[in-house]
Amino acid sequence: MPQRKTLLKQLLIIPVLLVVVVGLLMAKQVQVSRAADASPVALVAAEDNPAQQGDDEVSHSTADHTKFEVLQQPFETVQDVTNACLSCHTEAADQVMHTIHWTWEKHVPDTDQTLGKKDIINNFCISIQSNEPRCTSCHAGYGWKDKTFDFTVQQNVDCLVCHDTTGTYKKFPTAAGLPVYEPTEFNGKMFNPPDLNEVAQNVGHSSRNNCGACHFYGGGGDGVKHGDLDSSLKVPDKSLDVHMSPDGANFQCSDCHTANSHEIAGSRLRMLSQSDTHYDLPNDDHNRATCESCHGITPHSNPKINDHTDKVACQTCHIPEYARGGVPTKMEWYWKDAGQFNDDGSIKSTVDEQGFPNYNTLKGSFVDEVNVKPEYYWFNGVIRYTLATDKIDDTKPVEINPIDGSYDDPNARIYPFKVHRGNQPYDPVNKTLVIPHLFGKDDTAYWKNFDWGKSIQAGMDYAGLPYSGQYDFVDTEMYWPITHMVAPKEDALACDSCHTDKTQSRVGSLEGFYMPARDHNNILDLLGWLAAAGSLLGVVVHSSLRIFGSKKGR
């Protein structure tokens, strides 16, 4: 039968077609795996990592500091130690003095603002001005107790706080950056004088403990400020931080926050929303504090996911929640509530049902949380601060550090943030945020006298800023970029964390772009489903009439 033969011949097309389709798909896959192979992360893992030597038995350093005579002399003061360091590391203090760890001040060209701890206002303890001895316990220096501090004296640079490997060197919380020379108690905790020879002879690379001593405790306590930095990162589980965990890459902070001449990469005051060079390895310029510096811009084996990296920061998917290490972070802080005492006149200090602090007479009321989902915003790295000299609009919450960026901005990506909300004192006449004098034993410090009027007057006078004499409280919001606590990849956000209904989507409130699953045109959907329903109805009516007609015809 000739027809059957032609049919068979034509059926041969089936395998041919299949082969072509499968071939096309496989070609795509090969392309994908090639892209994945190119990741230079492998290079990092293979490198001997000098910053980890603190954990190793054998030191790889070419200098044994116990053998330096200058470090065997009896040290009277910490400044003597600095002088000893500088006798070999001649340029170290000068280098440090040009960095923000010393100046607490940085000019940001994008906004032409001078920022840094010295100048900004936040909605935690508000301002360091007039409160220095307490705040500067985290200054990489000695003796910044008020605005007369001389920033040019090299022996006041604190080498040890960053380079101690013994864990015994501690700066006293209220001593303007100095440790104690006699055993001293603070809030029930004993601070012992460090053995300066022991500490000086055991200096080394900065570890998580060095950086963490300040950066894990920002805002006045463990985890208070950042949400993605707290003491749980000293020895984190891999589930908390794949990079920093000893079970993971066991990175120290300085493995990403690399330094040139003590200038450390990765300042929050002017962030890189994405690295402009993408791969910073292997041509490492020691300025690689972005994810892409090592992972590149196409790190996923699935190309569809790589398609997102131009608009979505790595952190957005890979840090599903922050404060995951069990240490709570402050989400809300209401200064207006400060100054309430127990019935017996003692300082009131309470905790919520989870055991997290929710009230303190000195500071007001708080909301602390763990395992917090970030908020997401377009961010191009530029942050503009509302300084004490800037006019505010007190009819709505004041954004203390509004972040810049939008969908149309090629430098902006969707980035995760902790938003710290609360209220704080302001001047309702001059329309400015104010600097209260909180810390001190004098008769104006709020934490001693609980009189906002006197406290603000003293703080503003100290800062040389105008104050009308009237104060009130204004709602404020502050944005904290989330970038640490990178979770294992299995815990990364799934597509439908964002690609879903607006009310469910993590980026439901972001505007200016179309996102599949999140966005529809209601009119089109209505018309489309009406057309489908209409077609179905037409079919039902038509078929009914046919059945009716054929019965009648019979």
Partner: protein
């Protein structure tokens, strides 16, 4: 009542393979596509996207073969629109069919599509499919628009793609229903499976 019929070989092997593969692919594209549209949850978003893109490439490959087949066999002529007996056919489906009138169009190997089908399928081939393929590819390669110098808007691309999908739903409903209007309800379906259509003899 039996009617005398003659058998005509209307649909060739490739044509049938193409039709059913295309039908299957479009149905699956619809199912996954409307999940991506967030109309329901079935596979999960990620899997739906992955399936949708793979199915899309399979459909595009199939379309390339179909175009080649239509051009080389000259079968494209079946889709040249004509108004000849158009109103008669329309009248048949609107009125005559209910009175058991005879279909005014006789399929033959040389002309297997009635004028209504010609218009509908031509629209399908030169309007809906190109719109879906173009917007679909644009959607898929959204990240390369800039480097390829394409100026388009994702929202409009997505809306057009969705509109095309809705058009296909209505097409599908009516198309499936129309298969029941042969001399027996399954006659047209059988023809599309075996290639042989039974046509009532005069």
């Amino acid at each position: 009542m039996t009617t005398a019929t003659i058998r005509v070989y209307l649909f060739k092997g490739f044509e049938r393979l193409w039709h059913w593969t295309q039908a299957l692919l479009i149905i699956l594209l619809g199912i996954t596509g409307f999940e991506i549209h967030n109309s329901y949850h079935l596979f999960g978003y990620q899997k739906a996207v992955m399936l949708h893109n793979t199915l899309a490439w399979a459909l595009i490959a199939l379309i390339v073969f179909a175009i080649f087949w239509h051009l080389t066999t000259g079968e494209w002529r079946q889709y040249v629109p004509t108004t000849e007996r158009l109103s008669a056919v329309a009248h048949y489906y609107a009125v005559g069919i209910f009175k058991n009138e005879k279909h005014p169009f006789k399929e033959s190997e040389a002309s297997k599509l009635n004028p209504l089908q010609r218009f509908t399928y031509l629209g399908f081939k030169i309007l809906i499919i190109p719109v879906q393929v173009t917007t679909g590819l644009l959607y898929m390669y959204y990240n390369h628009w800039h480097e390829w110098g394409i100026f388009a808007r994702l929202d409009l691309t997505a809306l057009l793609h969705t509109a095309g999908a809705f058009a296909l739903i209505s097409f599908f409903i009516v198309h499936v229903y129309m298969t029941t209007t042969g001399h027996t309800p399954l006659a047209h379906i059988k023809a599309m499976i075996t290639g042989w259509e039974e046509i009532e003899a005069d």
